[in-house]
Amino acid sequence: MTLSIAAIALGILALVFGLVLGYASIRFKVEGDPLVDQIDDVLPQTQCGQCGFPGCRPYAESIANGDEINKCPPGGEATIKKLADLMGVEAKPLDAAHGEEDVKKVAYIREDECIGCTKCIQACPVDAILGAAKHMHTVITSECTGCDLCVDPCPVDCIDMLPTEETTSSWKWNFTSSPKGDIPIKMVS
């Protein structure tokens, strides 16, 4: 008798919890995978495809499914470190097969050489090249992610990837590399 009461009680409890959980899974359903979004936020969004995926988000999805985290040369060590923290895995050196970490660059079109073929416009993942067929093209440098994808399609090789110029607004204090701009605190004694 007691046995059956216990079984019934447990059964009812199981049913109730099952219903609660079932309801919760519908009510609090999470759209998409938040992990992918988190990984995507860490990635540099150059959309360069050096990782072998067509854009940053596909790579983020792949990482979420267990891919290596060291395939992103534009992000470099900093991104790998952040991804390792996020994924709870060991940070690895950058996979050389996907490229080297480089200084930030921006594409420039040598405009007098441009023939207006629009091939680079089609290649640009962020629509940062402006122009029309048979008219000169130019790069909106503030939108350029430096992904290199426009360089290869150019039939006349008129696109240069130049390192971004440092301006007074982008400049960073760095006292280890040079004493430039050093402040004379402690000079007054």
Binding site: D40, L43, P44, Q45, T46, Q47, G55, C56, P125, V126, D127, A128, E143, T145, E166, T167, T168, S170, W171, K172, W173, N174, F175, P179, K180, G181, D182, I183, P184, I185, K186, M187, V188, S189
Partner: protein, 735 residues
């Protein structure tokens, strides 16, 4: 947190009770080096280098060009955004260059500068003083402030017209004459010598801002300045001139507000959030100059001091004056320095200049040229002993040693947790550090690193949005294309299903074939069928023009022809004529000729095709279309004649033969023009006369009408036409 009420503060001020801020240090102020002599005028330099941007915000648009002659006070840029103020020519002369030049920034990087070769005459431009400012409205005065290029002269360089137009009601207008940093005495001397003008500036500001109370704060180590301003403000009891305790950094905006009112500026807020706004005495002086004298901000008082200067003191310097010119004026003692070192700003917060050609700007209040013994240059940074002297000295109540640890370890998120961005970089912590750690260096480095990371993050976010927008656009375009194709296919199918007039019946055969050749053939057939229908019905000999020379005429004719053809097609459902594909005739004909005609016809054909025959469009590949167009053009020509033959021209073949031998090698172009003319006329006749008229007759009729000088050509044309017709007829028969 306590937040003293207005009345409370006023009572305290009346009782002479002030608040205090935490921390602070008392460095040796060394002000007597430079504050004993009157402000001297710095002689006019040969060249003035005016940076386009001398304030916080956006640089204005340059409105002069190289070679222009500019007058003293003339605007060189104009303000084109809220946070932009113009710069003005500090003296008259010629603009010799507009180039990037190293500017007053710790990086030693270049920014755009306007270089003026002075002519020595120092001629002012027309000034428009506004003596009756008290009757003017605020916006007018704010515009004057903006146009005069006034920005904060205490150090930050915030545009004054923004600050003077706060979005919130202001209780306290505080005039900052504290000047707490060692060595600097420019405000001190300015207050002593120009107290009245500062008072005038204060009057203007109070007119614009309408504060409930006005406080002039002066540190108690400047008794002369305090006295001068007290006298200047004595007729207005509501202007309270108060003496504040000497303690570095009492001159910091947040610190001074705390001293005067006891209120603290919220972390990411502005002083106006707590009902306070603050202006430097130098800014008041410049505002008075701008409003009462109409003079834009083109000069300022700069303290030139340090033991390596022969005549330390304050100088009235034109903005844009290179530092080395000022040094030469003050007497630079090179032997007192082993390596040249000039500090812009004070010893606590200034920065070492990278180049002596850097120009003086609106925020330059001091140039410190220390001798070797004056500084202890050995950067013997030792380990932190956790003595916490720095946190005792911090005026912002931060934990400098924690910030130091995290900044050093590059744990930037942690530094933000410890409120790194509340640090005002006053240097008090580094001043008291027994281990001589340059703490502020670490904070500045960490701050700029965090800022650049934020910038990168923003940029990545933007790139992501653009990438996604692009992806979406490509997807949309693809769908649109597919939709278009689907619709075209449907149209084709319905056309197939419909009862078949000649053109549609031809379509069927055209669709059936899949090779390119077949398509061409089909297109030709269709074109012909259509033309046949047209001609059969109206028999007016209309066709696309073949003339390559007389384009205009031809076009007109063609347009009329097309319109008629369309009508005719609509009517001529029953007229079905089997038309042979004219490949043979085409091949035998002069290809070049045909192509020229085709090129002209193509444009028209394309236009017409959309209206006349959708199926042509359906052969979607480019080549197919071009082929179709070419074919159509050719077909039209061949067609027209073939029809005539089919109907009635059989008997004339011999005659035609004979004439074509003569005519063809001759001037074909002319012949074709003539033919076109003839056709046009024939058509006209046809319209007038009865509809069933033979083309041959038409051309003959036309030849009668045309003036005799062209008769020969016309004949030739007719002959050519007949020849073609014959060939076409032959083809037809063979089929």
């Amino acid at each position: 947190m306590k937040y003293p009420s207005f009345d409370n503060i006023i009572n305290n001020l009346s009782a002479g009770k002030l608040h205090s801020f935490p921390g602070g240090v008392h460095p040796d102020d060394k002000k007597s080096l430079s504050n004993t002599t009157a402000i001297a005028k710095c002689p006019l330099p040969k060249q003035l280098i005016v940076p386009v941007k001398q304030h916080v915000g956006i640089d204005g648009a340059i409105c002069v060009s190289v070679g222009d002659h500019v007058l003293k006070g003339q605007a060189l840029t104009h303000s084109n955004a809220a946070f932009s103020v113009p710069v003005h020519a500090p003296s008259s002369g010629h603009v010799s260059a507009i180039v990037p030049h190293v500017v007053a920034h710790p990086s030693g990087l270049t920014e755009m500068c306007i270089v003026i070769d002075t002519d020595g005459r120092d001629t002012w431009c027309d000034l428009s003083p506004m003596m009756d400012y008290s009757h003017r409205n605020k916006s007018e005065l704010l515009e004057v402030l903006c146009k005069s290029g006034i920005s904060g002269m205490g150090g930050a360089g915030f545009p004054s017209h923004i600050k003077a137009a706060p979005s919130k009601p202001i209780e306290f207008l505080i005039i900052n004459g504290v000047e707490c940093e060692p060595y600097i005495t420019s405000d001190d001397r300015l207050m002593r010598e120009h107290a009245w003008q500062i008072r005038q500036g204060l009057d203007i500001l109070s007119h614009i801002i309408e504060p409930k109370a006005i406080v002039v704060a002066i540190e108690d180590n400047k008794p002369e300045a305090l006295q001068a301003l007290t006298i200047a403000c004595q007729d207005k009891p509501e202007y309270r001139v108060v003496s504040v305790e000497t303690k570095y950094p009492a001159g910091g905006e947040k610190q001074l507000i705390q001293v005067i009112t006891g209120r603290e500026v919220p972390r990411s807020g502005l002083p106006s959030d707590i009902g306070v706004t603050m202006f430097n005495v130098g800014t008041c002086f410049a505002i008075a100059d701008a409003v009462l004298h109409g003079k834009p901000l083109i000069e300022r008082v700069v303290t030139l001091t340090g033991e390596a200067i022969d005549n330390p003191g304050n100088y009235q310097v034109l903005l844009g004056t290179p530092v080395n010119h000022l040094l030469a004026t003050g007497g630079y003692l090179a032997d007192k320095q082993t390596t040249p070192k000039i500090v812009m700003g004070g010893p606590m917060m200034g920065f070492t200049l990278a180049d002596a050609a850097i120009p003086v700007v609106k925020t330059t209040n001091c140039l410190l040229v220390p001798s070797n013994n004056e500084l202890r240059d050995d950067s013997a940074e030792r380990a932190c002993i956790r003595c916490s002297a720095c946190s005792d000295a911090c005026p912002a109540n931060l934990l400098p040693q924690q910030l130091y640890w995290h900044a050093k370890a590059q744990e930037y998120d942690k530094t933000e947790e410890y409120d790194l961005f509340d640090c005002i970089e006053c240097g008090a912590c580094a001043y008291v550090c027994p281990s001589e750690i340059p703490l502020v260096h670490y904070y500045r480095q960490a701050k700029s690193e965090i800022r650049s990371q934020k910038d990168e993050k923003d940029k990545a976010e933007k790139a992501k949005l653009r990438f996604e927008a692009r992806k979406e656009r490509l997807q949309r375009e693809k769908e649109e294309r597919e939709e278009k194709h689907r619709k075209a296919k449907e149209a084709r199918l319905t056309a197939k299903a419909a009862p078949s007039p000649s053109s549609q019946s031809d379509n069927v055969s055209g669709q059936g074939n899949s090779t390119a050749k077949d398509k061409v053939a089909a297109a030709l057939a269709r074109a012909k069928a259509k033309k046949a229908a047209v001609q059969e019905d109206s028999s007016d000999g209309s066709s696309a023009p073949v003339a390559s020379e007389d384009d205009k005429k031809a076009k007109v004719a063609a347009a009329i022809a097309r319109a008629k053809a369309k009508k005719a097609v609509a009517q001529a459902q029953s007229n079905q004529e089997q038309v042979p594909p004219p490949q043979n005739s085409m091949n035998t004909e002069d290809d070049k000729k045909a192509k020229i005609a085709a090129a002209i016809a193509r444009a028209k054909a394309k236009k017409a095709a959309t209206q006349e025959q959708t199926s042509v469009e359906d052969n979607d590949t480019k080549q197919a279309r071009i082929a179709a167009a070419v074919a159509k053009a050719k077909a039209k020509r061949a067609e027209q004649q073939s029809n005539t033959v089919v109907e009635n021209a059989q008997g004339k073949t011999e005659e035609v033969d004979a004439s074509i031998v003569n005519a063809a090698p001759k001037d074909e172009k002319q012949a074709r023009i003539a033919a076109a003319v003839a056709k046009a006329k024939a058509r006209r006749n046809a319209v007038v006369e009865q509809p069933i008229k033979e083309t041959e007759e038409a051309s003959f009729a036309a030849s009668d009408n045309i003036d005799p000088s062209e008769e020969k050509k016309r004949r030739i044309a007719a002959a050519v036409a007949k020849a073609k017709a014959k060939k076409a007829a032959a083809n037809k028969e063979s089929q």
